[in-house]
């Protein structure tokens, strides 16, 4: 029959009219490792959710052949029974339970009286771990005893205990150290020799190169190409990943760039849970008056962590100094930053941007409420006037300023949040993914606004995962990869390839060039 274990053909998946996947193919032979590459938002995760039936059969179009037969799974349980197991980016282990309990969670071996048979469970788990050459892991100990890398291995052991024939690894190394990565890659090679196929999703092309037999690249939900790894170089893959059309969405406007106003020096940010791990490693940069600086990088590179720490909003440990107009600031909380003239529009609008049940207007005046309230009593007439002005200026479409903000569209909510953080007239405005989940019209208006701010001398920092946006708006682009500053480019003829190469390839490979 077919030489392939898995064939996905012309997969189409839409979300309320927007095509996330537009006819993608993917084929995997038994014992083969396929690297799946694509930029942020290209559709890799959606593709894997279709395969593992997180989106059940019928919610997408196209066909999936498994072992030559059509697979019509209605849920994850069914695909797991068939032998397709996905390991997510975030670990799904219960830290307080033992390794064995985690491996057999939901499928615990029972004694005849219906109780959990712990002896059998631990024996089977130990056999499995030995078989996978993980003798250092004790099946009876709680998972929390083990570090991130070992936990990832436990996840794999758990997957294999379900008799996985196809293992999907979604960014498995994003939180691992170099040594842990090597152990993981060895394990995957070992599995391949035993006939287990895998789909390896990663931004790290050296890992893809090290273990993939073939590579499939997707871009903006469309299939770009597929080729044996032996015929490809990392540069080829990057070229296939980018190449999104640049269009006239960016109303670039001339603006004057002045002297340095803002400096962040030696910022290091540690992970909230894994206290040893650095999310940002000693990054320094400066911005001039009226300059728009884009911060590019892949998801998880540490961009949000960096700007949160600068703004005083990082909950964990961080180090570094902020200088504004030549003076060092003491920022311990966002309130300090706002008072000093640094404002931030956060990445997650729903969780960090809006107070959903409050009115549009009340959301907008949140940062400057004191100015309407000499003596603590709010002058509602003055507040209403200011709200009316801002709604008109930002062109926020709302039936009324007292309508709860959650009733507005994403784009209008975002405009209201930006208006909120513009109200204190900041010298430095940080925008973290300002156009995420925003329609094209609102995007355009947000870009116009950024340029208008730059013209009045505001320094703008824009974190964005959309490469065309970064290149279309910024005067200068900082590229961050794995917590390091890997590029600081003046945006003059800068290409997507240059930015993506800097984001993906470790610094030492630049030095070698």
């Amino acid at each position: 029959m077919s030489e392939y274990l898995l064939e996905m053909r012309r997969i189409i998946k839409e979300f309320s009219g927007v095509r996330a996947l537009n006819g993608i193919d993917l084929a995997v032979k038994p014992g083969e490792c396929v690297g799946l590459c694509g930029e942020n938002g290209a559709g890799k995760s959606t593709m894997m959710k279709v395969l593992s039936a997180v989106y059940p059969y019928g919610t997408w179009q196209g066909e999936i052949l498994w072992d030559g037969h059509e697979l019509r799974a209605s849920g994850v349980r069914e695909t797991e029974d068939a032998g397709i197991v996905i390991i997510h980016q975030e670990l799904m282990l219960v830290p307080q339970l033992s390794v064995a309990e985690n491996i057999f969670l939901g499928r615990e071996p029972k004694t005849r009286s219906g109780l959990i048979d712990f002896d059998a469970m631990i024996a089977r788990a130990t056999a499995l771990l030995n078989d996978l050459r993980m003798p250092n892991i004790n099946a009876a100990k709680p998972v929390s005893n083990y570090a991130g890398g070992e936990q990832q291995l436990i996840e794999i052991a758990k997957a294999l205990s379900k008799n996985a024939r196809l293992l999907i690894l979604d960014e498995p190394t994003s939180s691992l150290t170099r040594r842990e990565i090597d152990v993981l890659l060895d394990l995957v090679r070992d599995l391949k020799r035993r006939g287990t196929a895998c789909v390896y999703i990663s931004h790290k092309l050296d890992e893809i190169e090290a273990i993939s037999d073939s590579v499939t690249v997707i871009r903006d939900g469309a299939f770009v190409g597929s080729a044996p790894m032996a015929q490809l170089t990392q540069a080829d893959i990057i070229r296939m990943m980018v190449g999104r059309e640049m269009n006239n969405l960016f109303p670039r406007e001339q603006h004057e760039i002045g002297e340095v106003v803002f400096e962040a020096r030696n910022f290091t940010v540690w992970d909230l849970e894994n206290r040893q791990r650095k999310r940002v490693d000693d990054i320094s940069f400066a911005i001039r008056r009226g300059e728009i600086v884009g911060i590019a990088g892949l998801v998880g590179a540490g961009r949000t962590e960096l700007v949160s720490a600068i703004f005083g909003a990082w909950r964990g440990t961080s180090e570094g100094t902020v200088w504004l107009g030549g003076k060092q600031l003491r920022i311990r909380a966002p309130s300090d930053a706002v008072r000093a003239g640094i404002c931030m529009v956060p990445e997650d609008r729903k969780a960090h941007g809006i107070v959903p049940q409050m009115g549009v207007g009340q959301n907008m005046t949140m940062a400057v409420l004191d100015s309407f309230a000499p003596g603590g009593l709010i002058n509602e007439a003055a507040e209403m006037n200011a709200i009316g002005r801002d709604i008109a200026r930002m062109r926020i479409k709302t039936a009324s300023p007292i309508l709860p903000i959650s009733n507005l569209s994403g784009g209008n909510q975002q405009k209201a949040v930006i208006a909120k953080m513009l109200a204190p007239a900041p010298k430095v405005l940080i925008l973290d993914e300002p156009t995420r989940g925003v329609d094209v019209g609102a995007k355009y208006e947000i870009y116009k606004l950024i340029f208008a701010l730059a013209r009045t001398g505001t320094a703008v920092i824009m974190v964005s995962s959309e490469m065309p946006e970064v290149l279309g708006i910024s005067d200068r682009v900082l590229v961050i990869g794995e917590g390091e500053l890997r590029g600081n480019f003046v945006n003059d003829g800068l290409t997507q390839e240059q930015v993506l190469s800097a984001a993906i390839l470790p610094a030492h490979s630049h030095a070698a060039e």
Binding site: S16, Q61, A333, A351, V355, I378, S400
Partner: protein, 403 residues
Amino acid sequence: MNKPALATTTAPAGSAPARNPGFGLKLDHVKGAFSRYKILALVLAVAVIWALFWQLTDGDFLTARNFSNLLRQMSITGMLASGMVFVIVLGEIDLSIGSLLGLLGGIAAILDVTYQLPLPLTLLVVMLLGIAAGMFNGFWVAYLGIPSFIVTLAGMLVFRGILLGITGGVTISPASAPLVAIGQSYLPDIIGYVLAAGVLALLVFVSVQARGRRQHHALEVPPLWLDGLKLFAAAAAIGGFVYAVDSYRGVPTPVLVLLVLLGVFTLMARRTVFGRRIYAIGGNLEATRLSGVNVQRIKLLVFALMGLMAALAGITTTARLAAGSPSAGSLQELDAIASCVIGGTSLRGGSGTVFGALIGALIMASLDNGMSMLSVDTFWQMIVKGVILLLAVWLDIATSVKR
């Protein structure tokens, strides 16, 4: 092919979910109306409860004398509830106020009876102590990040322990006449009418002003008849209230304190920066923090306010009993929390009003009073109150429109 189906789903973006539209929409309308007119529903509940007891007691329940008693009974719970509303809106809880009420009432009794301090000094010391105790709770919650449930559970034990320690477990009496007057006196009839007229004039003024402002900002102005009706209802309620209490002995002093609190706190909630911040923090703490608001300070102040309310309630309790009792205020925190919740305060934070909480307190007091008049056994009283609390929360959750 299911292409056409896809095309139709894309067209009406943002409309109601496709499945079962007719029924779902209707139900949502009912739910929306219920949650919008929650206060009205509460007033209706009070009316139903009163009518029921009136019927069962052959009219004894709704005499001027009993009405006056009922209000005095609810005033202590009401004081606690009007502070508790803000704690719950903030997304926190305070379990310590029953014990704190007892402790501060006990201290008031000791200062009054044992040391014979002049009344103003006693009041000042007790209120400052209340603020300090509230700030102590607030400091642990806001700055040290300990869950308020735990902090105030500890406070519940500690404050009661201190009270037992300083009183030696015995009742301290008799309280001086001026102190007793705070809990037991009545205002002269004429003052009641003057106050009622003043409040009504204020309401008319505020209403006219609000209409003007809304017109100026091109907001939707409610029809004149609706505002007129609201004012008429308010006038009837206030007039009826004053007439009823005056036909017994006048407005009880603690009830006056409660009404002043209602006015001040409603203004605070709606028109002050502090009030707005409390609701913002309860609605989304992170968004508020990232807007540059000093969230920790607001939390500290809300707990301080709660402490002050415990002080007022403690003084009133001691005045009413004419003595400081080591068991005063036991389980009062639960009555206060129940009042807030029955009055529509969401335990998820972000919404709730003082007026609602006081109506909740009135419902609780009515149940207590009515069932006592009917000589219902205490155990039944507890069961009924528990069931009412559960039903109120269920109704709140079942009728909240999902966002």
